[in-house]
Subunit: 350 residues, 2 copies
């Protein structure tokens, strides 16, 4: 039997700290098999998100098998499954994919075409690869979970939104989406001066420091509560302040697991609600049945349109090249340090 | 100074178990003063809800002052504040009122007219007094918190709703509202055969037992999850089953404080949400500003219309007469026993 062409990729066999030489390793894989809705993408650039480091540390692959991370990519369609109707070979696409499948740290990736869109025309591959996970997460949080568009139109007074950790990847996406695509008043928090300037630049109406002075600072702004709170950092730490700051019948959305138990009764007197956003809910459930929702495809298409119209911009990028275990380890180490602002993108193959 | 006419009422001075002679006592009060939006109501009937017993046991009045419970009444308008535009003297009204104010266990009660509506014409005072708290709570839960009407129309497949403890006061109201005013498929739970028959009679499409067999029974119905779950009993006990039974992006609403910590992370993988409903959120916040929302007034008017149209019926009543400390203590004891089905109503004065 003829040996297939081997594809370079980066993966891991065991959950190891990033300073371990084997935390991420260069591997070679067979060309991925395509399902009927899959496209085979030649990955030109991929980005690293906090979830990459979290999975690398917590989710061990089966013994002897390598798991390939990477939940953001931009690249070219090189082959397609029999029922793919959206793309042609040669199309430049971008996507975040599915946390359960093999990721984009691979020169060729099989990906469900219903989770992909044509990349923004005005961005290069590295810039495009920085967008999907944060934009999908922020979009679903604001428009599917919090439904900021529906509610703000129904209210006589302009609704307001607090974004906790506005300078992070998802927070940055949320500031732009809320500012450009809704009429809510956006207040963001950021811990450092540089982050606060970045939030302002993205369009936040007000920007505040985190921590103990947060509520005091909010009162000083003349704000007596928020219709919507979007928590992109330490849900358990912010749960009590959020319970105090949310308005009656207000909505809180979080993307961060609570590491300690929270007291949900705190929200009862205000008839408030708590919403989770997990970007993988949709990809994990998509089936081969006809008529499946094209949620991610549609969101990414809309985001691409807004990017090309100049309304939304990618984060500042820190780029690494080529895509390789060494560069990827640097990126993982940086993301674990939580000291990075903007997005970490890797591009090209050796 | 001339002594004003004294009004009979039932109240308490200390938090005492219901078998204590002083748990509830007959008192006399001055005629209540009216705020500008208040009406003075001659209470013809009032009902007892679980919140009455809870407050009697937990919320001590200031030393030497009596607190009057009762959050449901029907009666006649006998006087009105200067800015009351909705009612005339002699109008028959029904309302639940405000948990913070003095309640309806009093022959005369001052109540904000914006929380009241004309009572259903086809009901007597006792029947009308059985409705407000349960109908307001169920209405706000289904249509304000869960928004079952909005979502079910947008979905191609008929949405479904699980009501935990459908035979209770609020559950019974919720079954009827969901059945009559939305197109969701209603599944209710009830612990005893009699309660299950009652749920069926109210319009539930399916009725199941509680407890360990609940999930098995649901699977046997061919249901793989719920778009909406409405928890009217033991939030902490049902939290894990609800997390398993809720569909992706489904909504859970509860009216019962969690007595133990719950793990909200259980809802994250499904991007589900948890909503509190507390009927007093609106009354506690209503101000004297012009243009305040007439939420409770509007809901009670709509419910009255549906009752008079024969779509909604009051629960089976257990009646006590007259309204007096002794009868009220019997009703509190019964509600504390949790063995009562239907509503406890007191009518008339000695």
């Amino acid at each position: 039997m003829k040996k297939e062409k081997q594809i370079p990729a980066v993966g891991y066999y065991q959950c190891l700290p990033i300073n371990d030489a084997k935390a991420l390793v260069d591997i070679e894989i067979d060309e991925p098999q395509l399902g009927k809705y899959d496209i085979l993408v030649e990955v030109k650039a991929c980005s690293v998100n906090p979830v990459d480091a979290k999975l690398r540390l917590k989710l061990a692959p089966p013994p002897g098998k390598a798991r390939i991370l990477g939940f953001d990519a931009a690249g070219l369609v090189v082959k397609k499954g029999k029922d793919v109707s959206f793309f042609q070979e040669g199309d430049a696409v971008y996507y975040s994919g599915n946390l359960l499948g093999q990721g984009s740290n691979s020169q060729l990736q099989a990906i469900d075409s219903r989770l992909c869109a044509l990349k923004p025309k005005t961005l290069d591959f590295a810039q495009a690869a920085s967008l999907p996970l944060t934009m999908l997460t922020a979009w679903e949080s604001l428009f599917e979970a919090l439904e900021i568009n529906k509610a703000s139109k129904a209210k006589p007074k302009k609704a307001n939104l607090l974004i906790i950790n506005g300078a992070g990847g998802v927070g940055s996406a949320a500031i732009q989406l809320a500012k450009q695509l809704s009429d809510v008043h956006v207040v963001a928090t950021a811990s450092h001066e540089e982050g606060r300037a970045w939030c302002k630049d993205l369009g936040a109406h007000s920007v505040l420091g985190h921590g103990s002075s947060l509520e005091k600072n909010i009162t000083e702004l003349g704000i007596d509560g928020f219709d919507y709170i979007y928590c992109c950092y330490a849900t358990d730490v912010y749960f009590q302040p959020m319970a105090r700051l949310i308005k009656p019948r207000g909505k809180i959305c979080s993307i961060v697991d609570a590491e300690k138990a929270v007291n949900i009764n705190l929200l009862k007197a205000k008839s408030a609600s708590f919403h989770w956003e997990f970007m993988n809910t949709h990809p994990a459930l998509i089936t081969d049945a006809p008529g499946e929702a094209l949620l991610h495809k549609n969101i990414l298409e809309t985001v691409a349109g807004h990017v090309d119209a100049g309304l939304i911009k990618p984060a500042i990028l820190k780029k690494f090249s080529p895509i390789h275990a060494n560069t990827l380890k640097q990126a993982h180490a940086l993301i674990e340090s939580q000291k990075i602002r903007g997005k970490l993108v890797l591009e090209g193959w050796a």
